[in-house]
Symmetry: C2
Subunit: 253 residues, 2 copies
C-alpha cells in the first residue's frame, strides 16, 4: 500500500464540530502526529500510534509525518481548528518545499475544519456577517511591523477583525501595543468579543467595547473579535446580547 | 414543546463536510427553510416540511422561520458554507432586530460550517496559511465605494484575499473593476486561484496569476483567492502545484 498524509482539522474541541471526512480519515491511519493537546483528542485503538509533541516543533513534526508517509504509512497530522488557518497545512508544505524531491509526490489530502472565529461567531450571533479579516498576532515568524501594518489596514478598510494567537508569555506587551493601535484607528464603542475555549468545558464569552476592554484577561486560548463600524448589539432580556454585523453597509441601509 | 430555530451551515456541498451538530439538528426539526439549492440537499423524511425559496428573499425567509419557531416548531434555516459568513445568520438577526419583542426570546442556535474559502484552500494547499481577509463583491446591500476601499486596504495590508460573490449577472462589469483595482495595487505575478463548486461533481480549480487571469471565467459559484506578496507555488511533476502562504513573513524568513 502506498503511503498517504492527511492534514486534518479537529475544530475548536468537541466531536460535534469535526467533519465526517476527518473522522473517516482518522479511522484508517496508523499514525497521528501533532501538538500534544490535539493528539490527546484522538481515541486510542489497536494499530494506532499517537505521536504528541511540543508546540514549537511544527517543521520537525511535519518532516516526521512526511517520512512516515513516504515509507508507506497512512499518517494524519492534526491541528485544532482548520489546518489551513494559521496551522499545520502551511508547516507541512513548507517542509515539502524545502525537502527532498520525493516528497513532492507524496499523496497529501487536507481536510478542513471549523476555525475558532467561526465557533466564536456562532455563539454570539453574526459578527462575521460582513467583510472580515483574520490576523495572527504571533511575531515568532514575522516582524511586528507587518502586524502593525495589517492592523492599520484592517481598521482603514473597516473590516471586522479576528485576532488569533493574541497573547504571548514571551511578549506580554504585544497585545497592549495592538490595542493601542486599534484604539487610535477605531471608534471607542466598537463591539469587542473575547471568546475563550469555545466548545470546551471551560468556554467563556465576554462582550465589551474596544475602549473598555480588560486586555489583561486575554490569553493564548482567547479568540478576539473586533467589530466594524457597522457591528452592533441586539440587547435581550436576561440573556447575552446578539452581536450583528449586518449584510448592508452605511448608505445602503 | 417550546420552539427552536437552528441556523445551519451545510458547507460547500458534500455530506462529508457537514459537521455532526448540523446533521443531528436536521434530524430533529420539522421544517427546513432556505434557498432552494441548499434545501434540496436535505433528504426528505416523514414529518419534515422543506421550504425552498428564491435567493433574493433572505429577510422574508428569516421572518417566516422566526414565526414558525415562535409557534413552537423546531425549525432549521440552512445556508451553504458557514451561516455566519455572508449568509443567513446575519439575515435572521437583522429580522430579530427589526421584529416584534417576542422574537428576542426565541431560542436560536447557530451551527457553523465549512466555508467556501476553506474548502478551496484545502484543495490547493495552504493559501490561507497566513493573515487573510474575506470580501463579498456583491453590491446589492452596500455601496461599491466601500468594496473599493476594502480591496485597497486589503492590498495595502498585503493580506491574502478571498472574494465571495464575485460575479453578478446584473452588474457584470464589477468583477473587472475589482481586478483593475487589484492589479494597480499588487504584483502582476501574485498567485490567483479560481475555485468553482469545490466538493461538488462539477468542481474545477484553476491556478493562475493576477495579471494573466481570464476574469470572464468567474461566475457566482467561483471562490477567488488572491495571494499576498509571500504566496508562492510549489511545482510538482505531473500534478497541480501546491499553493503556499508560509507562516513566516519577509525579513523573518
Amino acid at each position: 500500500m502506498s503511503g498517504k498524509l492527511f492534514i486534518i482539522g479537529l475544530g475548536p474541541g468537541p466531536d460535534f464540530w469535526v467533519v465526517p471526512e476527518a473522522s473517516e480519515a482518522l479511522a484508517q491511519v496508523s499514525d497521528v502526529i501533532g501538538y500534544e493537546p490535539y493528539v490527546a483528542r484522538i481515541a486510542p485503538r489497536e494499530g494506532l500510534t499517537l505521536h504528541g509533541s511540543d508546540n514549537r516543533v511544527e517543521i520537525t513534526r511535519a518532516q516526521y509525518a512526511l517520512e512516515l508517509a513516504l515509507s508507506g504509512k497512512q499518517v494524519a497530522v492534526v491541528s485544532g481548528g482548520d489546518p489551513g488557518v494559521f496551522a499545520m497545512a502551511a508547516a507541512v508544505l513548507e517542509a515539502v518545499e524545502a525537502g527532498p524531491q520525493a516528497w513532492l509526490n507524496i499523496d497529501i489530502q487536507i481536510i478542513p475544519g471549523i476555525s475558532a472565529m467561526q465557533a466564536a461567531a456562532a455563539r454570539v450571533g453574526a459578527p462575521l456577517g460582513h467583510d472580515f479579516c483574520a490576523i495572527s498576532l504571533s511575531d515568532n515568524l514575522k516582524p511586528w511591523e507587518i502586524i502593525e501594518r495589517r492592523l492599520i489596514a484592517a481598521a482603514q478598510g473597516d473590516f471586522v477583525i479576528a485576532l488569533y494567537n493574541p497573547a504571548s508569555k514571551a511578549r506580554p506587551q504585544r497585545i497592549f501595543d495592538a490595542f493601542t493601535l486599534l484604539n487610535a484607528h477605531k471608534s471607542p464603542d466598537t463591539p469587542l468579543i473575547f471568546a475563550r475555549a469555545v466548545g470546551r468545558a471551560d468556554e467563556s464569552l465576554h462582550i465589551t467595547t474596544l475602549s473598555s476592554a480588560d486586555i489583561a484577561r486575554i490569553d493564548m486560548s482567547t479568540l478576539v473579535l473586533i467589530g466594524s463600524s457597522e457591528t452592533r448589539l441586539i440587547t435581550r432580556p436576561n440573556q447575552r446580547p446578539w452581536v450583528l454585523t449586518p449584510r448592508s453597509y452605511g448608505a445602503a441601509r
